[in-house]
């Protein structure tokens, strides 16, 4: 890239007017708009912004299985940000997970998904980022026990599991379906949370979307075809959820709340339709029927539910759609991995505020008044009542999560 004195779109536009021949390629409105939209689809802002601080200036702590690492500054400030990066440097990071000095980046940076983005898209993101206000901000030292070894371990991990290369459309499918598949597996990195991981942290079956767990949240199965977690959701339901944070089935409140707040609510409706179309095309195997839980636990669970939960979620589990999620049929409640259910009961929840639905509703925390066996009982009750049949939760499961969250 030549001449990076340009720091804002307005300035860029003025320069373009002055010498259209030299810079029009990089800073045209269309190119910057493409980059801006690419940043939305990749949810860059959520991870690269410390709480309440300048956007894109990084320094946000992220928990990984190895310890806490901080996101870098991706404004184009020269000393602390990407100011000295070339387009090629940026492509190497986004496409191959390699930093400017050649070191291996942790896949906490979702480059295993961003690698599906074509070169032109990545260049547009680079151009757009170059126009943002430059912020001088050093990132704190990572809190990793053996940083060097871990970067090496990631190299090994990459050799085994990393499959670089842009998205290849399926010619047998429609343009919209391919767009949906690209957004889900590429910039949207939905599988990063919604797929199970193997021991080394790679998606088990490359992005199968059958449910996963991240940072003490379990993300449910989001396959929308027969037997999928979203089998009961219509196209419109999926679009509404990603656009407003809520629909008649559910509302987002966890790490998914950030995905919606910074990314999907800003996507155009056509892209959300494409995601819905793609997810609805994914069938799944029927689920195993777990054993019916202990009668006494269900009885206690029912009382706890009646006295604590039914006021909002109603005794027949039908809830108040778009305000208090129905628990009957909820994908989060029926998820074989009950982490999210237990956590919501322990800590409470707040539905994500969005432009369309700016007023969030909250659920109070119950961790202070229900002990582990009571939380297990009420979780077991909601997972095995109405038409839900998802197996029992033990007091030990609750105790373990309570401890992890306290750390």
């Amino acid at each position: 890239m030549r001449g990076f004195g340009i720091t804002s779109v307005i300035l860029a536009a003025a320069t373009v007017a002055a010498s259209p021949a030299t810079l029009a390629q990089d800073t045209s409105f269309a190119q910057l708009e493409r980059g801006r939209y690419g940043v939305i689809t990749g949810n860059c802002q959520a991870c690269h912004t410390a709480r309440g601080e300048e956007p894109f200036a990084g320094a946000r702590p992220m928990e990984t299985p190895f310890g806490v690492i901080y996101t870098p500054n991706i404004t184009f400030e020269r000393e602390t940000g990407l100011g000295q990066w070339t387009r090629e440097d940026f492509w190497q990071a986004m496409h191959n997970g390699r930093s400017r000095d050649g070191s291996q980046l942790y896949p906490a940076f979702p480059y295993p998904h961003f690698t599906r983005m074509p070169r032109e898209e990545v260049d547009a993101i680079y151009d757009y980022l170059s126009t943002l206000p430059q912020v001088k901000k050093e990132k704190p030292e990572n809190d990793l026990p053996f940083p060097l070894n871990i970067r090496l371990a990631v190299k090994g991990w990459n050799m085994l599991f990393f499959d670089p290369g842009p998205f290849e459309p399926d010619p047998g499918k429609s343009e919209a379906w391919n767009r949906g598949a690209y957004l889900v597996h590429g910039p949207g990195h939905c599988a990063g949370c919604h797929s199970e991981k193997n021991l080394l942290g790679a998606d088990k079956e490359s992005g199968d979307l059958r449910g996963g767990r991240l940072e003490h949240w379990s993300a449910p199965n989001i396959r929308g075809g027969e037997n999928g977690g979203l089998a009961d959701w219509s196209h419109e339901d999926i679009v509404e959820f990603l656009q407003t944070g809520r629909n008649r089935h559910s509302a987002a409140f966890s790490s998914m709340a950030e995905v919606i707040a910074y990314s999907t609510q800003h996507m155009c409706e056509k892209d959300l339709q494409a995601i819905a179309l793609y997810l609805k095309s994914l069938d799944d195997e029927p689920r195993d029927q777990p054993d019916a839980p202990d009668e006494a636990v269900m009885t206690a669970g029912q009382s706890i539910y009646a006295d604590n939960c039914s006021a909002c979620h109603t005794s027949d589990g039908s809830g108040v759609p778009r305000f208090f999620a129905p628990l009957a049929g909820s994908g989060k409640v029926r998820n074989p991995d009950a982490t999210t259910v237990i956590r919501v009961i322990l800590e409470g929840a707040r539905s994500v505020p969005t432009n369309a639905r700016p007023t969030p509703l909250s659920m109070p925390a119950f961790g202070w008044k229900l002990d582990d066996s009571q939380i297990a009982a009420v979780a077991t009750y909601i997972r095995n009542s109405w038409d839900n049949a998802s197996g029992a939760i033990s007091a030990g499961d609750v105790e373990a999560l309570r401890q992890q969250l306290a750390e």
């Binding site: 702590p61 896949p107 991981k197 005794s315 409470g348 925390a365 009982a377």
Partner: protein, 225 residues
Amino acid sequence: MGTMLASPAFARTIAGLPWSPAQTSTPQSLVGQHFLTAAEKHCLDALTGRLIPSDEYGPGAPEAGVTTFIDRQLAGFFGRGDRWYMQAPFRDGIPGQGYQSEHAPAQLYRRALASLDAFCRATFGGRLYAELETEAQDELLRQMEAGDLSLEGVSAETFFGLLWENTIEGFFCDPLYGGNRDMVGWKLVGFPGARYDYRDVLDHNGAPVRLEPVGLMGGPQWRVD
């Protein structure tokens, strides 16, 4: 090792009203806090046991833990009068003006219980209030209520007013605070406890609605075993 992709450690940057996970303002049960001595508790059991005695309708105040309730309250901000204006001058005031004593509630109890027992010892041949026949105990309570008993260094009438109020509170409070043990007070009057949803029983067609009472920390029906 679970996963390498990580999500932000702080998930609270989204706009909207402030909300933090796992943050609740919890009730202060004051468990384990004590103010009263054994002798004072003995006297208080006898007093509250005459105000709400055990009878054919069920257990009375001492059995319901009213003394435990009052003991904990006196050990906390209530006992210290923290939320009241407690500066001189101290004048009698009119009844509508509320608490007028120069003694914060805990000290009022301490003085009144000591004076009452001293009065009884002097008047009833060395016996404490708790050792009197119930008729004599009731008579003393009546005199205190009417302002006809003079106790050394404290207004018996003021003490009676506070004692009566606190006894009722201890008998009907949430069991979390030490009184209303096994929800005996609520069972007596048919109060179903701290519930906030009656939609399931709205169509009762005039029949009495009998719900097992539930406290803030639940009840036997929440026990898993």
